[in-house]
């Protein structure tokens, strides 16, 4: 298979990913330039992982070895992203435009009301 010949450690690492907390939602952004929506698969694994799988298709009219300069990467990729917060697999919205994937997930955590006691928090005496 030709993939092994061309594949580098960078290609094996998968796409770069950002995670953003927005209110009660967790947003995952992944740069996937050159990927067609039909070539991308996004899965929520349990409530703490997102699996990104797909293929960057080679679509130039010339064979790869005939390019004057070739820095883009092609072929299959896969990356499992560990989420720092639990999410509700039922509350996920996915969009993909201009090579930028957005996975908007609802957090699965009920807010606990905190009652602060200023003296205990800010004072020097702490319970042992």
């Amino acid at each position: 298979m030709t993939r092994a010949h061309h594949e580098t450690p960078a290609e094996r690492a998968g796409p770069p990913v950002d995670l953003v907390r927005r209110g009660e939602r967790l947003l995952l952004l992944a740069a996937l330039p050159g990927v067609k929506p039909s070539d991308l698969r996004v899965s929520i694994v349990g409530d703490r992982q997102v699996l990104l799988e797909g293929t960057v298709g080679y679509r130039h009219p010339l064979p790869r070895e005939n390019l004057s300069l070739n820095e883009r990467t092609y072929g299959p990729f896969s990356r499992t992203v560990d989420l720092p917060l639990p999410v509700d697999p039922g509350g996920v919205a996915v969009s993909f435009q201009d090579g930028l994937l957005s996975v908007d997930m609802r957090l699965r955590a009920e807010a606990v009301r905190l009652t602060w006691h200023p003296k205990e928090v800010w004072g020097g005496d702490r319970p042992r």
Partner: protein
Amino acid sequence: MTDPVEAAQRIAEQLEVLGNAFGEEFWQEVARAAPPKKGAARGKGERPRTPVVAGPPLDIYVTPHEVVVEAVLPGLTDPRQVAVGLAGPTEVLIEAFLPDPFADGLYIQRERFTGYCARLVTLPVSVRPAAAVRYGDGILELRFARVSPGTGSEGVAVLHVPQRGG
């Protein structure tokens, strides 16, 4: 009036000073792309070269009438976020600003590149100072008309095959 060649040279010198640090970061954090592969940039005569290793990864190929440059720039939202210049018949400067939709404090994890990036690259053949542009799937495609038509094989890597035995 500013001479575009001098301006491009000045930008190239400044980028070279910034050079390796920015380039390394780009490779590691942004595209996770491979550095130019051995032999991939070799060609007949004028070979493509990358004097400044910074900015978006590129693919370049030549057809009988065009030189096609593809730059990896995911997430552009406005044509004004890209500027392309010719610093000579074969020197192309690509500048881009990848927008950051969120404030710094909201990020839990950050690997994508955002902000300004630039790339100066030499084409295998001379081109005219106009290009057809297309943007899709995070790839910017520039099609330059060649000054003089050719076979399309200019700039193609030629691999040396050593003789066996002896």
